[in-house]
Amino acid sequence: MARLKVATATLAGCFGCHMSFLAIDERIFELVEHVEFDRSPINDIKKVGECDLGLIEGGLCNSENVEVLREFRKKCRILVAVGACAINGGLPAQRNPIPLSVILDEIYLGEAGIAHGVIPNDPELPLPLNKVHPLHEVVKIDYFLPGCPPSADVIWKFLTDLLAGREPEFGPELLHYD
């Protein structure tokens, strides 16, 4: 049986969900018999190829996040929002009620100790979005894994269900938003 191709990415997240993924511990040996990693921070491949499964951590806070998400949607047969930020914007989205210009002014111009602050404007920097958005507001998401982070057991249950051809399901013991 061909191994499933899996890509992962962190957008506006803290890598906590990836850390939780790695917390499947020795089960990763079993996993690599069934999957092959494409683009992921785990192997540092930068471009996503044709994949069976894409796991995205974090919401969308800038234009690059949107570009990466759209690329994943194009290349991945199944796309999964992993963790609180991917699902509702999470901690980064708590800036949403405040206008972006007010935030930038406060941080780069108004903060104590900044004498001649400037708002960074290098063309290489992706532009911040006015609001942080969860993934499903921009592309179709096939599955959601809630949790901050989703526990290794949630991620494992999801992957093993999927590999076994079952509809992934979480019992009440695995469904948590924190």
Binding site: G89, I141, P172, Y177
Partner: protein, 236 residues
Amino acid sequence: MKSFLLDGERISFEEGETILQAAIRAGKYIPHLCFHPEFRPHGSCKLCTVKIAGRQSASCTRLAAEGLEVESETAELNAERLLLTQMLFVEGNHFCPSCEKSGDCQLQATAYHLGMTSAHFDHFYPNRPVDASHPEYLLDFNRCILCSLCVRASRDVDNKNVFALAGRGIATHLVVNARSGKLGDTDFAATDKAASVCPVGVILKKGKGFSVPIGSRTFDKKEIGEWVDTRLKERT
């Protein structure tokens, strides 16, 4: 004793009891948020909607009657309850990981019960500043689901009228009855019933924080369906 059928099971009731009251007393769970056994029903959250003779009705306001055949645990009703819950999540700012009420929150526990993995709709991200003017309590309006339990507790039990729902439709919001609109300018006290009745994380005691570790909180230990009637036992 008179009785009705709830999902085929016989539930006895006393005269004047609603379907939801009788169901809770019998240990049967019908999802609900704005209902509390110690208060008169409000009938606003609609999560307790059941089907009687093909018609939908809020079970917290519908009086039980002899021989009624009530459907509650059906795929159709639970799908609608899930949609209502998802709408509550996107209307406010419900960031569970940074909320002190997480694990003790009835909105969160109801969403778990209904199997919610995402809020489905686009988030509103409303701007609702926190009121920290009171020395002992703070109000985080971001999490308000307009159940009106604090309004009813303050008015009917505390005889104070500290809270009210203002505005209409989608503009409905919780207000504090003071010229300044601040809790610190009311006679709200820690001993008020209204201080302990909030099902979500709006009315919070200061200086408490995340005092109970994950794993030991109310809904870490009990599913909400098994928890609802504990409020009855506390009363007796």
